[in-house]
Amino acid sequence: MDQPLVIAGRVFSSRLIVGTGKYPSHAIMKAAHEASGADMVTVAVRRVDISRKTESLLDYIDTSKIFLLPNTAACYTADDAIRTARLGREAGMSNWVKLEVIGDEQTLFPDNEGLLEATRVLVKEGFVVLPYTNDDPVMCRKLAEAGAAAVMPLGAPVGSGLGIQNPNNIRIIREQSKVPVIVDAGVGTASDAAVAMELGADGVLMNTAIAGAGDPVSMARAMRLAVEAGRLAFLAGRIPRKSYASASSPLHGVVGS
């Protein structure tokens, strides 16, 4: 049978990692998290709103079951990402970080130069670094060599819902990587998540595809099943593609032949 996903020695029962942003309500988020079966969720680190009391996100996450993964979203330099990672560690009581160093507002694609630099610094400080990067096997290898605990290549722009734009790259990244490969960003619907897993990905991370769906809770369940389906299909070994047909029923013994 399949082994569970293990990152930096920590075992996860689910290969689906979900976000906490953009849900219609905290209550719906909580229900979606349960439906997704995820045991790791990403959170953002932001300034407390001094002016008014707001209910805490954490009141809607059962941290006894769900592991928090702080991200450095919206950081455009290695320094800001490092600073945010340190604050996230202090707030989260864990040394894990989904490392983002953004290079472009329109695509939210990473600045890999800054990402590599921040990864090196944070690994030295004892962080478990999960960098969000391009679907580039070379950069994924360098991040792993820099000490990243996993690599998180993007499937398509964050929130675009375009699905895996370059399956060949994801497949090659998986073939070459010595650390777990989590496809992050770009999933739009269940089949996209299945495709990512069929390419060999060790896991999938998504936020908008669930939070922005018409019914986030149903979509969360769909994603849970799709990730499991894709993983099973990858392990089972699919049939080869052929340009022509090959009959499913015997050609002999047909009546009247």
Binding site: T42, V48, I50, L58, G88, A185, N207
Partner: protein, 66 residues
């Protein structure tokens, strides 16, 4: 005296420890992280760390994100 709190000016009667500042702001210390003049303040140091005139303080927490 004035400090820079989360990027904005903030008035304080006199220097306060981080603990006292959080209390004054009615913020639960368990769910935030505090940066004092660009250095993260460990929770153990909340009582001793003194925020003075002109200091920069960032108080952050977790919000929804992806």
């Amino acid at each position: 005296m004035t400090i820079k709190l989360n990027g904005d000016p903030h008035e304080m009667p006199q220097p306060l420890s981080v603990s006292a500042l959080l209390a004054a702001l009615d913020i639960d210390p368990r769910r935030v992280a505090v940066e004092h003049n660009l250095a993260v303040v460990k929770k153990a140091a909340y009582d001793s760390a003194l925020v003075q005139d002109g200091d920069e303080v960032e108080i952050v927490n977790f919000v929804g994100g992806g």
